[in-house]
């Protein structure tokens, strides 16, 4: 059992999702909810076990026992297992929230949700770049269906754009893979890192094209600047639990950029060294600027949160391009924080919007909501976390990024832009809070109060933020080690594959 641990985060949701399409579970939403919760608990256990085992030693799992680099491998190092745990926690929150009733708006919410988790986990764990493509497609096709879950004009419209863009993106991904296979002769990530350093000059130009095409694809997933136009519309029109789960989708893109462009084609890639960095650098800064402008100009809480996601993308990539990879540990910590908090904010926006009746979450005068005290407090805490005010994890994350940038050549850019975007976040969120909670007219609305499950879901996600501060020392130590391991571990992984230390 233990030696198959690495493949379980992919198998568990897949098996349960398939079972949900069969009679005993099919068509009864209560059984599906219980089955989903059960799966999430199991996955939580698996993810924690995976973190424990992979902190001791990186796990390499050859599927079907086929010898890499020709067989397909899964690699669970610290970073991958951390991301799997993050996905599971976020998934728990989103699932709890959905079980309050959102999952009943359309068919097959639970199976699709689990398929999406399977795709995300697979994308984090895979050690083969073609399999990264396959898992991208799995998570994408589940996300297409989840996006239109519940129906409505806005969702259909957002879906058309999102699906078309991602299909074109997938084509480019395959072009890039073709080029890289043609030049490097391998698709195994650890093997590619090795082959890149031995590349001959005549093939370098072609390989560079492939590497940059990959940046285009991952940039589309991560919503890097010229490719970010889909994000606000998609995220703000998706139903709340789906939007919350989508908070990790941009992180899949960022994770891939970290892995492929930061490490495989990073410092030690010979002729291909740092091919993408000169592009990421200005794009990350522009993403931050556009996100900040969008933040100020947002007309509703969901759009505002979507812009906050954009800002976090910019911040993360900016932290990555700090020379020498010293910002990576801080970036990973910030990634944990921002994913959970923006997920919570999406859920909160939906709760507030539902209680305000017709005005929804738009910043217009509306009738007072049912639970102003509770939702107000939650919103305040979430805002503190996302801005980066002291008691919450955003503060620690941002300080660590700023510290890593201290004394480097890009310091003036990183400091000024991150601090200005935080200031803009304070302004935008205080305006949002004032409008939503204090700009009132008429009597109390007769909308239903939020259910216990919804509140628990938001509290669960928000509670992670102070926990990340309380256990800050352990978490930062873990992320720092994970970053260092990611930067230097590919030769070891390759050696492990060659030696056949695989189950």
């Amino acid at each position: 059992m233990m030696q198959h641990l690495v493949v379980l985060p992919i198998l568990a949701p897949m098996l349960m999702a398939v079972m949900m399409l069969l009679p005993p579970l099919q068509n009864t939403i209560y059984r599906q909810r219980i089955a989903s919760f059960f799966t999430m608990l199991v996955m939580l256990g698996i993810a924690i076990l995976l973190i424990i085992t992979s902190s001791e030693q990186t796990q390499v799992y050859a599927l079907g026992g086929w010898q890499p680099p020709f067989g397909i491998v899964l690699v669970a190092d610290r970073l991958a297992s951390m991301m799997v745990l993050l996905t599971t926690v976020l998934g728990c929150g989103a699932l709890l929230y959905a079980s309050a009733g959102d999952d009943n708006l359309g068919m097959y919410f639970h199976p699709l949700f689990l398929f999406q988790l399977m795709g995300i986990n697979g994308a984090f764990l895979t050690g083969d770049i073609f399999n990264l493509f396959v898992f991208f497609e799995i998570l994408l096709i589940a996300s297409y269906a989840l996006l239109i879950h519940g129906g409505g004009k806005q969702k259909t419209l957002a879906s058309v754009h999102y699906v078309s863009l991602n299909l074109v993106g997938s084509s480019f991904f395959l072009f890039a893979l073709g080029i890289l296979y043609g030049t490097l002769g391998t698709l195994n990530i650890a093997d590619m890192a090795d082959a890149a350093s031995r590349l001959e000059a005549q093939e370098a130009v072609l390989a560079k094209t492939g590497v940059l095409l990959l940046l285009l694809v991952f940039g589309l997933k991560a919503a890097l600047l010229p490719l970010h136009f889909w994000l606000t519309k998609t995220y703000s029109s998706a139903s709340a639990p789906v939007a919350a789960l989508f908070a990790i989708m941009t992180k899949v893109g960022i994770y891939s950029i970290f892995r492929i462009h930061g490490v495989v084609f990073g410092e030690e890639a010979g002729l291909l060294a740092n091919t993408a960095l000169p592009w990421i650098w200005p794009m990350a800064i522009l993403t931050l600027i556009i996100g900040t402008i969008g933040l100020i100009g947002s007309s509703s809480l969901k759009v505002l949160t979507a812009n906050l996601v954009l800002i976090s993308v910019g911040t993360l990539l900016l932290a990555m391009v700090i020379p020498g990879g010293i910002g990576l540990g801080a970036a990973l910590y910030y990634m944990l924080h921002t994913t959970l908090v923006s997920g919570a904010l999406f859920l909160l926006a939906d709760m507030i919007g539902k209680q305000r009746g017709k005005a929804a979450d738009r910043f217009v005068p509306a009738r007072p909501i049912q639970q102003p005290g509770l939702l107000g407090t939650l919103f305040f805490l979430a805002a503190l976390a996302v801005i980066g005010m002291p008691p919450m994890s955003g503060f620690v994350g941002k300080v660590m990024i700023l510290q890593a940038a201290n004394g480097t050549s890009g310091m003036i850019w990183i400091w000024s832009i991150i601090l200005i975007s935080s200031l803009a976040a304070i302004i935008a969120l205080s305006r949002a809070g004032t409008n939503l909670f204090w700009n009132l007219c008429g009597d109390k609305s007769d909308e239903l109060a939020s259910s216990q499950l919804q509140i628990i879901a938001v509290v669960l996600l928000l509670a992670c933020s102070p926990l990340l501060v309380i256990f800050g020392a352990q978490v930062t130590e873990f992320t720092d080690t994970a970053a260092r391991q990611m930067l230097h571990d590919y030769p070891t992984i390759k050696a492990m594959m060659n030696a056949g230390i695989t189950q």
Binding site: I148, L157, V160, H161, S164, S171, G178, Y181
Partner: protein
Amino acid sequence: MEALYALCVGVLTTCGIFLTLRGRTFPVVMGMTMLSYAVNLFLFASGRLTINGPAILGFSVNYADPLPQALVLTAIVIGFAMTAFVVILAMRARADLGDDHVDGRAPDSSETPKNQS
């Protein structure tokens, strides 16, 4: 043969990209289909083109690289499923939005909005 093959991939890609940039959903879907054809051919060529080379060892002296063939198979299956989905989505969008423009309505009809509710 290489030149002809490259030309085919190039023409398909050009047409695909041109069509995906059009304003109505039908040309966009057609464009994506062409793009996926181009991608499949391209992937196939990434293992170099060989004639009369089996993909299994031991049948001939020169053999073809089997990996791109496996990749193409996967890409075809995924591309096919995605195309099916996007066709259904385009039909749904036509029904929901009352127009087959990708933005839900053609830009020139913005002064006289129709089917607004």
